[in-house]
Symmetry: C2
Subunit: 252 residues, 2 copies
Amino acid sequence: MAYTVGEVARAARVTVRTLHHYDEIGLLRPSGRTPAGYRRYDDADLDRLQLIRYYRELGFPLDEIAEILDDPAADPAAHLSRQHELLSGRIGKLQEMVAAIEHAMEARKVGIRLTPEERFEVFGDFNPDEHAEEVERRWGDTEAYRQSQERTSRYSKEDWLRNKEVNEDWGRRFAALMDSGAPADGPEAMALAEEHRQLITEWWYDCPLELHTGLADMYVADPRFTAYFETIRPGMAAYLNEAIHANAISRA
Amino acid sequence: MAYTVGEVARAARVTVRTLHHYDEIGLLRPSGRTPAGYRRYDDADLDRLQLIRYYRELGFPLDEIAEILDDPAADPAAHLSRQHELLSGRIGKLQEMVAAIEHAMEARKVGIRLTPEERFEVFGDFNPDEHAEEVERRWGDTEAYRQSQERTSRYSKEDWLRNKEVNEDWGRRFAALMDSGAPADGPEAMALAEEHRQLITEWWYDCPLELHTGLADMYVADPRFTAYFETIRPGMAAYLNEAIHANAISRA
DNA sequence: ACTTGACCCTCACGCCGCGGGAGGCGGCAG
DNA sequence: CTGCCGCCTCCCGCGGCGTGAGGGTCAAGT
């Protein structure tokens, strides 16, 4: 039996355009043409189309479908499990987005407008949920981490807001210093570096000079920290790194 | 403070091309240009960019972001909840795909190759999970539905395979009849229509003539049923409908 | 003053999976 | 012979950029 595009399209619940497309890319060529150039599909074509639609339902891209169907060495099981992972990953990302939206809606209800920093920290490369595991891997067995966990767990919403505010204030003054052209190892820069150390000690954990220089190195070594400071002011990560080192040397 | 594209790109962790794109579509125009034509971004531009990236993380398309940011009457809360629904819908679809993949992998393990019919019924418009609710809404309080439920619940895998086989056999003979050019109200068509009714009675539920004609009408009225028959043979739904009616009249 | 190399600019095509339309021919019924 | 439907082949459009090509600009080093 031979069928026209329209018949095939109705049967498989796809559009004629889709069949044209499959023909164009060589995924499903009709087995023949009439003298007038009309596409003629036979039963084998229909079978193949059904397989194609099946894999499409499973989310496979067309080129992979072609591979699965045409390459006798291709292992459908391997493709399936790869596709399974891929889809699971997509679901995970979407679920994070949904969680973030819920967070944003919740914040609006409570009446807090998210500050730029918060938006960045929550949804940017500083996503705390995603970050938390790694922080624990890297710092979980340190005293600083323990202290930080203990103190911050008792912080109220007001505490967090004050924290944010003093941080932003420091950030603004640091940025202004950079704009002024002052050297990173000058006295004003060192003073702000020292203030940064005190802020950490006050809000998070005891931060002696050597821990502070360790942090400073991480600010330039870890792109996620770098990016955080770069959004405050381009070049800030390197500038702050130098200021912290200068401050530590002068106080040693 | 003024920044170049490159600086802004590094700070916001996007590519220069992305900023060019935002400029092109008017989503984020730099506040100025140098005499040489270089883009110059200021702090307000950075703030806007951060908002843009924030909404992008939440999955908003660029034109909607523009709307949210530029239209003072736009309600971010409404956008958020709409977006929430949209993402939830996408998650649902992906989860269906994942379930289908798992089904397919399971079937491969057990060693059953899915037949075309099964692929179609499971993942096409005849998706049983999706379909089951509607079937129950429409037919749940009928005797036929009760019988069907009771009988099929006791079917073994072998029963199902035999069922599939006799159905396919009937389908092949019916398709061959159509190919032969026999009229839909001729004796052979009526005989196969009657056989169809007997098959239903044998495998599913008692199917008297009036119920059979009701089914026949549904085959042409409900596109999902129509599609099922159309994949066996284009035009089959209408042909079968006529044959069933002819058979019912002759036996009344 | 010149060169180098990093940066910037503007096109402009490519991706994926089709949707949709223009402009024109083929086939079949009345 | 006239409709009308269905078929054909282009070809643009979508979203959000990636990735060049082919060239100007800027600051630093020689």
